[in-house]
């Protein structure tokens, strides 16, 4: 398939700012639509799951729109799904934000408070782990983060990490399992390095 003809579906579950993501995806030359309609999402090649806010409310919205089962089925079919920020956290099995809440469970692992410092806000460089050619070009690129909870899970699914300071514990920055990928940072707000990575992920052929 011609990559530029790929259609991106931005999953609208009422949480976060879809306009920025929509605009970025279109600027990259892809066709894009924002929807929570299963019929419409069925028509797209790649689904983007953005999100800002708290985990429990986001999951509640996904359940209320019957999108949890839908995303499960899409993942089983090998359809590409890219979670951004909170959207990445939703891919995990659960989160302890405001109590324990089950996530989509598309990638094994849990989401927990970062600890000290309590927030990871600002620009930080990615450390891409070996074995992830799709992400490799973004090694050491600086991306924009804004979160207080983070993914913890098996190393097999961790693609990239970063550190608040020299010698501090690693914070997971990106995860992947087959065609399901999660970015803890905001590629759409990370200027050229973020947009380049987003273009590569959307353009990747998983078929």
């Amino acid at each position: 398939m011609n990559k530029a003809r790929r259609t991106v579906g931005i999953v609208d579950y009422g949480v976060g700012n879809h306009a920025s993501v929509l605009r970025s995806v279109r600027q990259l030359g892809f066709r894009a639509r924002v929807s929570h309609s299963i019929d419409q999402l069925d028509q797209v090649d790649v689904m983007l799951l953005p999100g800002v806010g708290a985990f429990p409310m986001a999951m509640e919205r996904l359940h209320s729109l019957d999108l949890v089962r839908y995303l499960h089925r899409a993942s089983q079919l090998g359809r590409p799904i890219i979670g951004i920020c909170l959207g990445m956290q939703l891919l995990a099995e659960s989160s302890t934000e405001m109590g324990l809440t089950a996530g989509l469970g598309l990638i094994p692992g849990v989401v927990e408070a970062i600890g000290q410092p309590r927030w990871h806000i600002g620009w930080n460089g990615l450390e891409i782990l070996p074995g992830h050619p799709l992400f490799q070009e973004s090694d050491r690129e600086v991306m924009y983060f804004n979160h207080s909870y983070a993914y913890q899970g098996p190393k097999d699914f961790v693609v990239a990490s970063c550190r608040v300071s020299e010698g501090s514990s690693a914070i997971v920055a990106a995860i992947a399992r087959g065609s399901v990928m999660g970015l803890q940072f905001h590629p759409e707000k990370s200027q050229a390095p973020g947009l380049d990575l987003l273009a590569r992920l959307i353009g990747e052929d998983f078929s």
Partner: protein
């Protein structure tokens, strides 16, 4: 390693971007969209838009939507008229990544926690406009009442409980004059909170910015007026700050 931030700032009054002088006098600069678009193109680490005359009208959602429609690839922080969880949710939905809270800290501190439940603590920045009097005593400047008062227990509690994720310290009297930020304000605030600090007011030169970003507590600075009079002002500032952990300057190469 987390980088310190140079945040381009646009002050808006009566719908126009203005050059502000101590939040008391203003000169019109033009449409906020134009200034914000420049900051995005010039590679600012963040863009803050402070609408200073919202009163009880709530956030300027139309402005946020117009800015969001520009397709900014730089994080946008908005301040002005955010008083409750509905305001916070709507402002984020409209396109703001983070929100600066000022008046609500004084009139309804309990609303801050409710906002955090909707948009997350990481999206909330508390603003503390400060002045120091002739005796060097630091006070909280209340913009609406045009008076300086001791920092209230409620505000101190918000800072201690960390129901916001950063504290924006504003040098009210220095704002707009380019004479540098009064560091005694930061000295007074540092013992009161562990929150990362942002500083705004009076910053124009790289030396002034350096003094603040060199402090471990200071995660970033907001620079306003001085950025609007020179093409690629962000790059010029960063060129003189290479010893600080800042993100490499990366202006947009295509429009």
């Amino acid at each position: 390693m987390l980088r310190k931030r140079l945040i381009g700032t646009v002050v808006v009054r009566q719908g126009w971007a203005v050059q502000s002088f101590g939040f008391r006098r203003w000169l019109p600069l033009g449409r906020p969209e134009c200034l914000v678009e420049n900051l995005d193109r010039w590679g600012a680490d963040g863009i803050a838009v402070l609408v200073i005359d919202r009163g009880d009208q709530g956030p300027d959602l139309a402005l946020i939507k117009r800015l969001s429609a520009l397709g900014l690839s730089t994080p946008l922080t908005y301040g002005g008229g955010v008083y409750n969880e509905a305001d916070a949710g709507a402002a984020v939905q409209a396109g703001a990544e983070r929100l600066i809270l000022d008046t609500v800290l004084q009139i309804d501190p309990s609303a801050v926690q409710a906002m955090a439940r909707i948009v997350g603590v990481q999206a909330l920045v508390a603003a503390l406009p400060l002045v120091s009097d002739a005796h060097g005593i630091v006070r909280h400047w209340l913009y609406r009442r045009r008076e300086a008062v001791p920092i209230s227990d409620e505000v101190l509690r918000i800072l201690a409980q960390e129901t916001v994720s950063e504290l924006l310290v504003i040098d009210t009297n220095g704002e707009g004059y380019g004479r540098g930020f009064e560091e005694t304000l930061i000295d007074a605030i540092e013992p009161l909170t562990k929150l990362p600090l942002l500083a705004f007011g009076g910053l124009a030169t790289s030396d002034q910015v350096h003094l603040l970003l060199n402090r471990p507590s200071c995660a970033g600075v907001l620079v306003g007026n001085s950025l609007n009079y020179r093409e690629h002002a962000i790059g010029h500032l960063k060129a003189n700050l290479t010893d600080l952990p800042l993100r490499p300057h990366s202006p947009r190469t295509t429009i």
